[in-house]
């Protein structure tokens, strides 16, 4: 069981093409998942698991379909929830970036300001953003302001921290080189600061969006009035509607994945991966 080096398997006869091997890889990936789904379906059908607590995958899919379709003259309920959640998380994230990135650059460049504020920052960084929900609830009650406010705080600190680290990591020599060539502040920003801080910045953006999305779930459960995936999941609890709850969970996961890979993946590939041979920016959670 302990790994020893064994002779490699000789290359496949007939020369498997790249797409075929990717298919095989996909199949091996899906195998345990498929097995789990089958097992899950089986235990519920056979009555071994309580369907009121653990719905079968087929039931979840059925409910998802129900929610997806428009009811009467209204839009699809599921799409409404998804849309509202997305808008809240993105709004919070964008706001956070608008404030944190410039602030991050400023703090990263000014040694004095950084030294003065860093203890405060290191105290606030591990603070869960959800902890601010009660204050927001008192001040603004339930609703979008509270939710977006809390998510803003969730995204703000990671983005700020990463930006600061990115800027500080550039090193003074790169700045000197460009300044000795007669560059002004705009040039400096464009040619050195921005590209130099970009890897850490993108990593921070990824982290910030992930934090915003995860904080959103909790915030919606606590403070949403009508729409939102978190709200949908939590509200379903009062009806013991586990199928809906699981539909919500799946949606949350899928959207989170999409955001991380689709948006940030492409962003990374277009910029950082091309510049650095190692190319890897640490994943966000």
């Amino acid at each position: 069981m302990i790994a020893t080096r064994t002779p490699d398997v000789p290359p496949q006869a007939g020369g498997a093409s790249a797409s075929a091997s990717r298919l095989v890889a996909f199949a091996t990936f899906m195998l345990p998942i498929g097995a789990l789904l089958l097992l899950w379906e089986g235990t519920v059908r056979l009555g071994l698991a309580d369907a009121t607590i653990l719905p079968a995958p087929s039931m979840i899919v059925a409910r998802a379909w129900e929610l997806l379709n428009p009811v009467g003259s209204q839009h699809s309920l599921l799409l409404m929830h998804i849309g509202v959640s997305l808008w809240r998380a993105l709004a919070a994230f964008v706001l956070a970036c608008l404030v944190a990135i410039p602030l991050g650059f400023a703090l990263g460049l000014s040694k004095g300001a950084y030294r003065a504020l860093s203890p405060l920052l290191s105290l606030l960084l591990p603070l869960p953003a959800v902890a601010w929900t009660p204050i927001f609830l008192v001040a603004f009650g339930q609703g979008d302001i509270t939710i977006i406010g809390v998510c803003f705080l969730g995204a703000f600190f990671p983005v700020l921290y990463s930006t600061i680290q990115g800027v500080r990591g550039i090193g003074v020599h790169a700045i000197w080189v460009v300044r000795s060539m007669g560059a002004g502040p705009m040039d400096l920003f464009r040619r050195v600061l921005l590209p130099g801080a970009l890897p850490a910045l993108i990593s921070g953006l990824k982290l910030g969006m992930a934090h915003s999305w995860r904080t959103l779930v909790a915030a919606e459960m606590l403070a949403a009035l009508s729409y939102g995936l978190g709200y949908m999941i939590f509200a379903a609890r009062s009806y013991m509607d586990v199928s809906t709850m699981f539909v919500g969970i799946v949606c949350l996961a899928v959207i989170g994945l999409l955001i991380e890979h689709a948006i940030f993946g492409t962003l990374e590939r277009m910029t950082v991966a091309r510049w650095h041979s190692s190319g890897k920016v640490r994943g966000a959670r």
Partner: protein, 271 residues
């Protein structure tokens, strides 16, 4: 002490074969590293194996150690086929591979600890090798505080303390600078006599091989075979300045250089 031992144990100690390799083949994927390595190592012999880079000499050692399996041929220890690693063969690697979370003493007693030997007895047995490798006083240091030479001494003491029948050294001085290396070779001469067991050493340095070993085996370039087997008939302690030593060195260097030239020209042809 070494002179007495040299009289009691002639170089050719009891021509009893310890390790026998017959037609050993080893491939990695489509690359054939070893083609037909055949040799026999006697008990208590000190054999040095030398060859051009990439000829698979370290691989051969790993086959004996049991970390790898041959693709073809027979490899036996005491007449029985080698199936995996075990406490009858101790290994010393080029890069020391000490456990950084253990002190020098605990690194050295590791083999005995694993076998369940009690602390006091293990430490008592380790003491002898600590002394012989010149580590007295460093028992409670952590490896990260030691120099390369010291680390290798710890590795050697560790491999000897639990008394394996065979000691396998994989380019033991390869990671050390020249001065440290020369000092170690001189300093540890008594050690091999004291150890009094079968030793197989891989090296790329002819002078090291001629200085330390009873026999020097030269491997060809990849895919490797044995192309020379030279017995060094000079009593220990050996002196660098001994003309006999120079003759052996020249002889083996010539064989090795020819082989390296061949390998290099082959490489250029392919390119």
């Amino acid at each position: 002490m070494s002179a007495d031992l040299a009289k009691v144990l002639p170089m050719n100690a009891r021509a009893k074969p310890k390790i026998i390799a017959k037609g050993i083949q080893k491939s990695f994927g489509s690359v054939l590293a070893m083609e037909d390595v055949t040799l026999s190592i006697q008990e208590r012999e000190f054999v040095a194996i030398i060859g051009p880079s990439g000829c698979g000499k370290s691989t051969f050692l790993y086959l004996i150690a049991g970390f790898e399996k041959p693709s073809g041929g027979e490899l036996t220890l005491n007449g029985k086929a080698i199936t995996g690693p075990g406490p009858d063969r101790g290994v010393v690697f080029q890069e020391f591979v000490l456990f950084p979370w253990l002190t020098v003493l605990r690194n050295i007693t590791l083999g005995l600890d694993i076998q369940g030997v009690k602390r006091e007895e293990a430490e008592a047995r380790a003491l002898k090798w600590i002394r012989l490798t010149g580590l007295s006083g460093f028992e409670n240091a952590y490896p990260s505080t030691l120099s390369g030479g010291m680390k290798q001494r710890v590795a050697i003491a560790r491999a000897l303390t639990y008394d394996p029948e065979v000691l396998l050294l994989d380019e033991p001085f390869g990671a050390l600078d020249v001065q440290t290396k020369n000092y170690m070779i001189k300093d540890l001469q008594n050690l091999w006599q004291e150890a009094n067991r079968t030793i197989v050493m891989i090296t790329h340095s002819v002078s090291e091989a001629v200085h330390m070993a009873d026999r020097v085996v030269v491997l060809s370039s990849r895919p490797s075979r044995v192309i020379a087997d030279v017995r060094i008939d000079v009593p220990h302690p050996r002196d660098r300045r001994n003309p006999a030593m120079h003759r052996y060195e020249d002889e083996i260097t010539a064989i090795l250089s020819a082989e390296v030239d061949k390998a290099m020209s082959l490489e250029r042809q392919i390119k």
